[in-house]
Symmetry: C2
Subunit: 603 residues, 2 copies
């Protein structure tokens, strides 16, 4: 009995999809780096330093800095986070004090906690950094502004006077990148090194405000929208590996005397992987929607119309958190579903995880993001209560019926959801979100009655607020997935994607069944039916599962996973991969001569 | 404003616990290795090779092998898992065929999938391995048996003829360990190299069965019980780091104009960490209980009484899975609650995670473990239905009232749980488990009616079965935590541990609120009260939180975490740690001369 060379189910005979679905997830990644998907020391030069110049430099600064940066004479990074300050930007301590006598800025790291920390490429690679610092001029502080700071000599690469710079040491992942620290000790910069496209400091020290505070808003929204796409990307890769491998791996007996089945035939394996497959598809569509919306609104912003920005800002914050958390735990479920081999770096899953997981923290820590969205939801709720008409994703807060939604005995209210109808499920998710926004808003109200302090009331309602944001984002995702189905003409593809969308929606309900029961949106017998329906959907998806990951169209070279190989020849290549392990370069490792032999001699 | 040197709240003034609780978690770890807590190449020699000799070698074999092994002349490992076979032992393919002519066994790896894979220390360190192989003699296969196989020359350390051995390559963690592969090609062993304390092969090839199959059972139970303790250990360390750091880290504003608060003052941070703190305490007590029970039952087993073994076997399987899954995700919550710095290896959290996470897979993959427990639960349910009296943790299946439990409209049944009374909550968890065992058993029944095939019925009920096991384990944990309170005399300690136990129980209910609502155990208004009560408990625990992790008594040296330092001087030491990064050994890294300079020259 051989277990090798069994291929995953690419065979069209095994699935009922004649045409593979052409869902390339390629465009979701940031393609500006040299090797997309792999962190590199030059990432921040390409992804942050150059774009910041483009967005915030004056024409004179562009003339001076852009071409040398483009030619890699100047290699830059973006230094914002400090050792003691991350998400809360106002807390940053680095100072840039203008000296009108010499027309220079004097930059300082006044405390240990103010040392710049984390920027990629800062430790060893960059010779310049865009440094965010509190601008002081003529005795006033004007908040954070960006400065171009030379940190290493252009020819010797030695740190310049007043600069203490280095690598911050080993991390969970990103070992290819020299994330760095930067301590500034009375570093003097010419006035021209402050990025002055918007805010300015005149030669005499006069501060000129930027025309709008909202301009920097856009970049944040853009990056967070991109991260939604990266969540889709990371989860698609992980599902591709785990599902293909589960069609190759055989284990145990299902029926006595029969050969060991593919582990993908186990209901528990399907229950781990297929909801994640559905999630990956959902997030691809959400990512596409966010990019489209961003570009649409950017047009408006350029014409001075900021009206949709708060909505997009709230949505991008919440969805950034919602999708990165789901992808983060999903990658690990995929890894562990591959058993021991998932733990080997040959599977690629450990690397996918360690390189993706920072997305839960960077560009806005996820819980903080959820609370930002919650602030928008609660504000919108108050507006709706005051009779204002809302638009966009929160318009449901206007709908009269939710005003009557009250947590009450489940059986006392007629249920509203048809569990086989996606449109009805979207409605259910919407009403759940409305209920939870209301609960959070009421919690704040109650706290205010007890304590009369807005900030404490907010903090004492934070659990409810995060829950409301989560429900809102969940609603948006289910809705966008459902909307997407309307765009698909091919019957076979429409059918299998509808199955995925239904699985996504129903699985989400079982994971949050208390909410739906509490809000009276579903009855107890319906919950039982949903469990049964999910099992049916898993069986329906089984024959299409491998085709559905093939449709992500991630080539072997990019997937870089022995377990996820398209040809399914896992064990031979695992053996081959292992033989190339650095430890195998000699038959007898030096540790034998250095340690084991001397140790024996002593015993 | 400096943010450095703020110490965590060790100050007894800040908490109302006069005495720190002396809960040392030390004894829960396997102390046989040289450096407890850190994986090492000799771990399997000490933890598996020597103990297996002690348990399964004959006196003659002991004379021959034990002292050389004790003196590290023989360095051994334990080779069971194969590249294509893990949890399903019967599927292992390595063969040992007895040749009566020469009185030797001939060992072979007949396929690629049969290559031994994963054993620690196998790749480069060991010169012997205990190999598990299918024993063939006189034309019959007698299943798995253990053989002592020399794999490297005792003086040159070169692989012996017929042996292909090496390292399996880089992994997620365990980089200190040379996990290895072993391919056997007609390797001949003297008859005396089969471990023959129980089963035997006579010189003429006659096979002699072992006296009891259940003897190997005990070791498995022992190891799984130990893993429960390791879950407690890993989670205690993670909570110590995250909670101390959350008392050091300051961020944002709670009240305008006031200094940045400790992040532990945020409700969301408390909601992430305090339930995990409660879980760590719960698992410590469960680990203690499992060890005690194991040792009690071992006495019985040695006297030939195996009656309690199935119960302990089922319990250890389920609790191994339940606790490792919870600890696994909990470590990551702790890491991410430390923001960016959690991602630095200086926090120790990445290492805790990568070294702990294999526990979800090894010694019985978690889903398989849950299904083993489920098998026992369903069997017990059938017995109870047939009127048999059950004992031990499943005795609740006997209780008459559960026979009437049926999922039904929530409001239609009087609720039974008092949310402020731990004993009543234990009762609630018990009834939830009873309901879910019943649902799983009924699912199997229904499937049988449709398909009449036991195996398919089982597989098609697997989701329900895992859910039932999970609920059973959850009940056992809540019950053991509650029982433990009865042993605590000190009023202050009793009080704070009761708060933790209540938080553990109520938080578990909110995470599974659908189950409790569906089973009619709690009403919708009670669910609202529970949410409010949890917020109160978080506030109550806040002043004691640091004292509660200090009570784990994990010294700085063992914790090995800059973020979790007892003295709280995090930022200074983070800076110091970073400066020692290997990349900082030169000011200008060689990559500048090797890559950047030549690259520039080309542009």
């Amino acid at each position: 009995m051989t277990h090798c060379g069994r291929k995953p189910d690419h065979d069209p005979q095994k699935h009922n999809l004649i045409t593979l679905i052409p869902v390339s997830v390629g465009p979701t990644i940031n393609n500006i780096s040299v090797h997309p998907d792999r962190p590199e020391p030059l990432d921040l030069h390409l992804g942050m330093f150059l774009p910041t110049l483009l967005n915030q430099a004056t024409p004179e600064q562009m003339d001076h800095f852009f071409m040398p940066s483009w030619n890699l004479e100047i290699i830059g990074t973006y230094a914002q986070t400090e050792i003691g300050h991350g998400t809360h930007l106002r807390g940053l301590e680095t100072t840039a004090t203008y000296d009108p006598a010499t027309q220079e800025f004097v930059l300082n790291s006044p405390t240990v906690s103010s040392i710049k920390w984390w920027p990629g490429g800062l430790g060893k690679t960059s010779n310049h950094a865009i440094v965010l610092a509190q601008l002081h001029t003529l005795g006033n502080c004007h908040g954070l502004h960006a400065f171009i700071v030379p940190i290493r000599d252009m020819s010797t690469h030695e740190p310049l006077p007043g600069i203490v710079v280095g690598d911050i040491g080993p991390k969970f992942g990103f070992s290819e990148v020299d994330n760095g620290f930067l301590k500034l000790e009375n570093v003097r910069l010419p006035r021209e090194n402050m990025l002055m496209k918007y805010a300015k400091v005149e030669p005499d020290g006069t501060y000129v405000k930027p025309p709008s505070e909202k301009l920097t808003y856009g970049t944040m929204v853009f990056i967070r929208s991109m991260i939604v796409g990266q969540s889709a990307q990371a989860l698609s890769k992980s599902c591709t590996i785990a599902i293909r491998y589960s069609a190759v791996r055989h284990q145990s007996e299902l029926r006595p005397g029969e050969p060991e089945p593919q582990i993908l035939d186990y209901q528990t394996q399907q229950y781990k992987l297929f909801p994640l497959l559905a999630t990956a598809y959902a997030f691809i569509f959400v990512g596409q929607y966010m990019r489209k919306t961003y570009h649409r609104i950017t047009g408006d912003i350029n014409q001075g119309d900021f009206s949709e920005l708060p909505e997009l800002h709230a949505l991008s914050a919440g969805l950034k958190a919602f999708t990165t958390w789901a992808a983060n735990s999903g990658i690990e479920v995929c890894r562990m579903s591959c058993g021991g081999h998932g733990y080997s770096r040959s599977s690629a899953l450990p690397d996918i995880y360690v390189n993706f997981t920072p997305a839960c923290t960077y560009e806005g820590e996820n819980t903080v993001m959820m609370l930002q969205t919650a602030r928008y939801l609660v504000k919108s709720y108050q507006r709706a209560k005051n009779g204002q008409q809302l638009s966009g994703s929160v318009s449901y807060l206007n709908e009269a019926e939710h005003q009557r939604l009250q947590p009450q005995p489940v059986a006392a209210r007629p249920t509203v959801v048809d569990i086989n109808d996606l449109a009805s499920l979207v409605e259910g998710y919407k009403l759940r979100a409305a209920t939870l926004v209301q609960i959070a808003a009421k919690s704040i109200q109650q706290e205010l009655q007890h304590r009369k302090n807005q900030e404490d009331a907010w903090n004492n309602s934070a659990i409810d607020l995060v829950r409301a944001s989560d429900a809102h984002c969940h609603y948006v995702v289910v809705k966008l997935f459902t909307d997407k189905l309307g765009e698909i003409g091919d019957t076979a593809i429409h059918s299998v994607l509808s199955t995925l969308a239904l699985l996504y929606a129903l699985h989400g309900i079982t994971q949050n069944s208390g909410d739906f029961l509490q809000a009276g949106l579903l009855s107890v017998p319906q919950m039982m039916l949903i469990s049964a329906r999910i099992k049916e959907l898993l069986s329906q998806l089984r024959p299409n599962a491998v085709a559905l990951v093939d449709a992500f169209d991630i080539r072997d070279k990019k997937l870089n996973s022995v377990l996820g190989r398209y040809d399914g020849n896992v064990y031979e290549h695992l053996f081959e991969w292992a033989r190339r392990s650095p430890l195998n370069s000699t038959e007898v490792h030096e540790s034998f001569h250095k340690y084991l032999k001397p140790l024996r001699a002593k015993l």
